[in-house]
């Protein structure tokens, strides 16, 4: 009983989440990972990059790479609407913190939830790589996927994608 209590205590921490939409799907990200939300400025596309690397924007004098989350998750691209915005995320890769922007269709709300309410994803094969998803959250009868953004937006991941891309190309070439 005592053991169970401490476990209860551990998972009793309340965390803030931000929910957003991509197409008709709902997602959530821990608020502590989000530095700010931007309107979409003019994006400069860097040539010869994979499609999900949308380009770079000016973030108060710095250069912020922007990732098209839709493309990353294999959804069709759409034109920007007034609701389209960029989540500025700080992600940790190999003890290094870097900042990236993620394009999303619209942000919904910020809500709080105890960590114990996060359920494991019951999926048996998703369109999105399951390691990207930390779990499922049910907020006001709306299920949403909690993303592990360190994994989703890591450059390392991008590099491997690029390499395999190049390898395939080279294999084709030979």
């Amino acid at each position: 009983m005592a053991v169970k209590l401490t476990k209860e205590e551990k998972t009793g921490v309340t965390t803030s989440f931000l929910s957003f939409k991509l197409a008709e799907e709902h997602f959530a990200i821990e608020v502590k990972k989000i530095m700010e939300i931007l309107e979409v400025p003019r994006i400069t596309k860097v040539p010869q990059t994979p499609d999900f690397l949308k380009g770079v924007v000016n973030l108060r004098g710095g250069v912020l790479p922007v990732i098209d989350t839709r493309t990353k998750f294999g959804m069709p691209q759409v034109d920007f609407t007034v609701n389209t915005c960029i989540l500025v995320l700080s992600i940790d890769i190999n003890d290094e913190t870097i900042t990236v922007g993620a394009l999303v269709d619209s942000v919904s709300e910020v809500f709080e939830m105890e960590e114990k309410h996060i359920q494991p994803s019951p999926t048996i094969g998703a369109r999105y790589r399951s390691e990207f998803i930390k779990g499922m959250i049910n907020e006001k009868d709306q299920f949403m996927m909690l993303l592990d953004i360190d994994k989703v937006f890591s450059a390392a991941d991008i590099e491997t994608i690029l390499e395999t891309h190049n390898e395939i190309e080279e294999a084709v070439a030979e």
């Binding site: 990059t49 770079v56 250069v63 030979e174």
Partner: protein
């Protein structure tokens, strides 16, 4: 804390090295000895402050030697300087191992201590007698007036006073400067100390070496003996004890000279001495003022962490960008007042930018100093006589450039010493002077800094290089290369011309790394050589890494910046000429020029008609055309890194933010061309396979 110590110690040791080298060349240079002594003293102080007794004692012994050299008690000889260098190297090691945990360090340590001890003993036996005669007991007056804030850095002035008092018989007269609004943590005491001692004025001054900046110190020798027991003297100096008024020197001198006049020893000559002293004593106050001015001058440089400088540079860069935005806005909304303001802001921003960028520049001398030592050691280990000359050490370069440059330069110098400069005997048979000459110089030219390494050695034999390159399969024997192209082969990976591998150089890794490091700094390296006359390597570098002059162009509505430094000319060409161009050559000014269509290269739609602009850029020795849609104009670009997400796109060397807040990509044209040629090769491969 420890890091601060090590950082500072390294800096001190570097200074020490420079002074020692200078001393070696000119052993009678008094200022060098002074400098060495001063640096050692500071190092000793720092070490004891950080609680490192091993280093403190070691430096103390070394300092003792130089104190003796300074006072002329000891001869400076080669042995001593060599020993000093060994000690220096040892200190460099033990600042990281202050407890001598490493056995080798420990052995070294004691061996060196023995050596130093030997020097001290030797000097001691000669000078003991002299010392007694030359340094008779005198009376010295010391005024020690700490500044009010002296406690802030943890100094206890009483320790200093008692240290001083222990130098001989003394009389200490404290005074208080009381004022209305005295803070409780301020020092309001000052001391007058009369000591009868045989110590020199320098030794007395050394007591105060750490508080020099925080206190007024005035030291004066009084021409009297045995005054401390003199009743009149005691009465006079004690009169004002604890008061705000110091001893009236004039009165004191009068009193004492009267007394001594009555003594039989006094004669006319002495009188004169006293007279002059009186006037000097009266000048105490003006003297004090002068010393204060000197001190203020001394404190004109401060240490700033490089993080803060980076932050400043970032802010300035942002300001430049914002200012560009203001200029753009003003151009659209023509209001006279706004234009004036905008112009002023522009002027100020430019000045601020130049000042801020100037701050990140450091004189290249810091690096040259390090090489002095290296060249000395290597040339003596190789048994070659080499005169190493550095010129233009005041040339300033970005700190990061200097840091990246150290290793490549070191490598080049090593090569020159090892393979370039011949042994004395060989030189003589060739009719050259037995000692070789190695010149390292740097100078500005336009927005570039040039660094040259010139030796008068045997030069590089083009035929040898050619044969070697053929045997290594780098070139084919049928290849027809110019001498210059052959010389450039030395930068090829895996190319080493040395017949014998030494530990100094010649492992075959190196020159290619040198070239790559310099290319990373957006610079290039050129080699010229003549057999038996010598070799000159010229490195050309941009002044700073973070700002470039570029040409702003667009390709499919995306802004790009091409560095002006690579651009030779701009042309207008017809798209039809390019549409069905079989070998991708255009005739420009009567020359066939290969070109790259950026639209095609970057995957935009290619225009079939109309005109397009072609920018001719330098790519090594050739000129390559790059087509763009539009040229907007010259632009001073502050380069920002693109970040790791775009690591693969290395043809974009960075991004710059334009006045309207959008981003322009800075192109590295050499990489664009590399990329293109690689793609072509790949295509050819596919074609061959099919």
């Amino acid at each position: 804390m420890k890091l601060t110590y090590i950082e500072e110690a390294n800096e001190l040791l570097a200074n020490l090295e420079i002074s020692l080298l200078a001393l070696e060349n000119n052993s009678s240079d008094k200022t060098c000895i002074e400098e060495i002594f001063r640096v050692m003293h500071t190092l000793k102080g720092n070490s004891s402050m950080f609680g490192l007794p091993v280093i403190t004692d070691f430096v103390h012994d070394l300092e003792t030697i130089y104190d003796k050299v300074r006072s002329g008690e000891m001869e400076l000889n080669k042995e001593l300087i060599d020993c000093s260098f060994l000690c220096l190297d040892h200190i460099k090691v033990i600042i990281y191992d202050a407890d001598l945990e490493n056995v080798v360090n420990k052995e070294n340590h004691f061996e060196l201590l023995k050596k130093i001890g030997g020097f001290i003993e030797e000097a001691g036996s000669i000078s003991v007698n002299e010392k007694k005669e030359s340094q008779a007991v005198r009376t010295v007056y010391v005024l020690f007036e700490p500044s009010a804030k002296i406690f802030d850095n943890g100094t206890n002035p009483l320790f200093l006073v008692s240290e001083l008092a222990s130098m001989g018989n003394s009389k200490v007269v404290p005074h208080f400067k009381l004022s209305e609004n005295q803070a409780h943590d301020e020092c309001f005491t000052y001391w007058e100390i009369f000591i009868e001692t045989d110590r020199s004025e320098n030794e007395i001054r050394d007591v105060f070496v750490f508080v020099e900046d925080n206190a007024e110190i005035f030291i004066k020798e009084l021409p009297f003996k045995n005054v401390l027991k003199n009743k009149h003297f005691n009465d006079l100096v004690s009169k004002n004890m604890y008061g705000d008024v110091g001893t009236n020197m004039e009165e004191l001198v009068h009193l004492l000279s009267d007394q001594q006049n009555n003594e039989p020893v006094a004669d006319a000559k002495k009188e004169v001495v006293i007279e002059t002293d009186v006037s000097e004593a009266g000048a105490i106050h003006s003297n004090k003022k002068v010393s204060k001015e000197v001190k203020e001058k001394g404190a004109t440089s401060i240490r700033v962490s490089s993080d803060k400088l980076d932050e400043l540079m970032n802010l300035v860069s942002e300001l430049v960008t914002t200012q560009a935005g203001l200029t753009l806005f003003t151009a659209k909304n023509k209001t006279p007042e706004l234009e004036t303001i905008s112009e002023n802001v522009e002027k100020l921003t430019r000045r601020l930018r130049d000042t801020a960028f100037g701050m990140t520049l450091v004189p290249i001398n810091n690096m040259f100093g390090r090489f002095q030592r290296m060249v000395r050691d290597i040339s003596s280990s190789l048994g070659k006589e080499v005169e190493f000359v550095t010129e233009g050490g005041e040339t300033e370069l970005d700190k990061t450039i200097i840091e990246t440059l150290t290793d490549p330069l070191m490598h080049i110098l090593r090569n020159s010493l090892d393979h370039g400069i011949e042994k004395a005997a060989d030189r003589v048979t060739k009719g050259k002077s037995p000692g070789g000459k190695l010149i390292l110089k740097s100078f500005y030219s336009g927005v570039f800094v040039y660094i040259q390494i010139i030796d008068d050695g045997k030069g590089i034999n083009v035929e040898t290089i050619r044969d070697k390159a053929i045997s290594k399969g780098i070139i084919k024997s049928t290849d027809n290369l110019s001498d210059k192209e052959i010389l450039d082969l030395i930068f090829y990976a895996g190319f080493s011309t040395a017949e014998k591998i030494t530990d100094v150089s010649g492992r075959g890794v190196g020159m290619d790394v040198v070239k790559r490091n310099i290319a990373d700094l957006r610079g290039n390296i050129l080699v010229e050589s003549e057999v038996n006359v010598g070799t000159t390597l010229t490195i050309k570098l941009p002044l700073t890494l973070s700002i470039i002059d570029g040409l702003l162009v667009t390709v499919d509505k995306v802004n790009y910046i091409i560095p002006l430094s690579v651009i030779t000319k701009c042309y207008s060409v017809k798209n039809e000429d390019m549409a069905n161009n079989f070998n991708r050559l255009l005739t420009l000014d009567g020359e066939q020029v290969p070109y790259i269509n950026l639209r095609e290269e970057f995957g935009y739609t290619v225009q079939g008609s109309g005109e397009t602009l072609l920018i001719a850029v330098n790519n090594g020795d050739r000129v390559v055309g790059i087509t763009v849609d539009m040229i907007i104009g010259e632009y001073q670009a502050v380069i920002k890194p693109l970040g790791r997400h775009h690591k693969k796109q290395d043809f974009v060397s960075g991004a710059s933010i334009l006045g309207d807040g959008t981003i322009a990509l800075v192109l590295d044209t050499n990489k664009v061309i590399d990329l293109y040629t690689n793609n072509i090769k790949r295509e050819e491969k596919t074609w061959q396979l099919n």
